[in-house]
């Protein structure tokens, strides 16, 4: 059965700390891995990773995929209170002609001032 596991499930840090969120997966026919940030309502897209070892970066956020280890990490440096959110990881797998997204449970990050 395809599955995506995120860790930790919950994390509390102080402003300025650096955090590393993990996403591991077991799927057949892997196509891509996606990271989303969800504050109050709609998840917003952060990164899509398809190739192993290539870091994607956006401001203080960065992410990298390791296909050998079947995992990805999301790094946030110099955290701010605005980074408080649930971070969701999803893996796209193909099944025949269909492509489906398998979601992890998310990591709830709280950044305290």
């Amino acid at each position: 059965e395809d599955k995506v596991v995120q860790s930790p499930l919950s994390l509390v840090v102080h402003e300025g700390d650096t955090v590393t969120l993990n996403c591991s997966y077991e799927v057949t026919n892997f196509r891509s891995l996606l990271w989303y940030k969800q504050e109050k309502k709609a998840p917003t897209f952060l990164f899509m990773l398809t190739s192993s070892g290539i870091e994607k970066k956006s401001g203080r956020l960065s992410s990298i995929l390791d296909k050998k280890e079947l995992s990805s990490i999301l790094n946030i440096t110099a955290t701010q209170t605005g980074d408080s959110a649930i971070y969701l990881c999803a893996v796209e797998a193909s099944a025949g002609n269909n492509r489906k997204l398998i979601w992890g449970l998310g990591t709830s990050l709280a950044v305290n001032p």
Binding site: S32, F45, I86, L101, G106, S108
Partner: protein, 114 residues
């Protein structure tokens, strides 16, 4: 540019009443459409997806149904709500390109069944 509209934002309904949540997409054609439910700020559970008008696939057995009467319209329904139907419902769309694409989400509907 593409946009996705989902309504209502919040809904409180009594047990046994019907439900209709609507989602429409603008600025794209022939999208893949999805209904998700998210419990208590956790991961997303796929309820239904549709690859075209009238084509609905259900991922989990439940008290809900979905319909796609038009290319860019996706409706989530129930004839009689249960308490366990309470949750946060998200509609999403993805493109059909061969390359990988991300999913875009509506703002969600928080449903409370009382």
């Amino acid at each position: 540019s593409q946009t996705i509209h989902q309504w209502p934002a919040t809904l409180v309904q009594p047990v046994g009443s019907p439900l209709s949540l609507e989602c429409t997409v603008e600025g794209t054609s022939n999208p893949n459409l999805y209904w998700y439910r998210q419990a208590a700020g956790r991961g997303l559970q796929l309820l239904f997806y549709s690859v075209g008008i009238g084509q609905i696939s259900s991922e989990v057995p439940q008290n809900l149904s979905a319909s796609r009467p038009q290319d860019r319209q996706f409706i989530l329904s129930s004839k009689k709500l249960l308490l366990s139907d309470s949750g946060f419902y998200l509609c999403a769309w993805r493109g059909r390109q061969f390359l990988n694409t991300e999913a875009f989400f509506g703002q969600g509907t928080r449903l409370t069944v009382v």
